[in-house]
Subunit: 167 residues, 2 copies
DNA sequence: GAATAATTCTTTAAGCTTCAAGTAACTTGG
DNA sequence: CCAAGTTACTTGAAGCTTAAAGAATTATTC
């Protein structure tokens, strides 16, 4: 029994194959690029991608940020950040101190060494990314930016809905 | 000293900011969606994303595939697959046997249980993905597919170049 | 046919990641 | 004030992931 599209009396198995294929392609692209960046960071600078990502967050702020901020921006768990920071403090790239106003809070920032090394890596990193996207025209880039922004919004809405949280 | 764009006598720091922002947005989208899918798989079926992904690969082929095939398709290391398969064999979702023609090769496939459970999960999974991409029009989806295909090609070229491998 | 090379997979060490539970510190409502 | 709730972070267990090295098997080359 199949009614017309307005009625929808029964649950028809709708076709979502296109969206699924899109998701798989998106995932493939990211995995591919991430792997390439990871291997170059390792070969060229002997640094891991998570370390680089964390340093990139810290490079954007001169006065440091809290572990929670880092966790939100990197979209990883708190416990993850704790471990990452511990290793970066150990290697002398990151400085960590307890906040003066709230003793629960840990404020971390790049050390002089950390910032200097990050800047060197970031410069090359940017050229790698440009190389990876080299076949895309400026118009392609703009269009992708637009569509991914829309995708991000859509995904965030779906995520909120499922967890029942406010934006 | 800045010469005209044809001459390029010195290395000017070119601007690749747009590509970098594009990459970060791509990564954000993927991380967001992956996290959402991971958490729903966990809550709804108590299964991890890597397990689901591996089973998805196996569901596509009736007669099983080798560990190397899985490794290439999932774009993860061999050692990774070894461990994943071990746990899936342990839980009764995957069957593993040595190839008759080549004793180095392990052929794995879904068990009856594995296939049944995967099918149930995959059905819901597909609706989640549709929900996540719900704001995109069919035209958006087509356009994203096209641009991501182009991106994939470009990234693959860059990856080959850096490793010096043939396609 | 034997030495050499390539492949398939496993193992190991280190690090990454999540989730859940726990601790300490701050905030709020009475 | 203070009890209850919230927030910030840490810890622990399990699993994921990679890179590198090793073992077993097959393919190649002379």
């Amino acid at each position: 029994m199949i009614l017309d599209s307005e009625t929808k009396a029964v649950e028809l198995p709708e076709d979502h194959g296109d969206e699924l294929r899109l998701w798989l392609r998106l995932l493939t692209c990211t995995t591919l690029i991430e792997g390439e960046v990871r291997s170059r960071l390792r070969e060229r600078f002997d640094v891991t991608l998570p370390r680089f990502d964390l340093m990139a967050q810290l490079d954007k702020v001169p006065d440091g940020m809290t572990l929670s901020d880092v966790s939100k921006r990197m979209m990883v768990s708190n416990g993850n950040v704790t471990g990452l920071v511990e290793r970066l403090v150990e290697s002398g790239h990151v400085d960590r101190r307890t906040s003066d106003t709230d003793r629960r809070v840990q404020v971390i920032r790049l050390t002089k060494l950390g910032r200097a090394e990050f800047r060197k890596m970031a410069e090359e990193h940017e050229t790698w990314i440009a190389e990876i996207f080299t076949d895309l025209t400026p118009k392609d880039v703009r269009e992708l930016m637009r569509l991914l922004a829309k995708t991000k919004g859509s995904a965030q809405k779906a995520a909120q809905k499922s967890t029942g949280k406010a934006p």
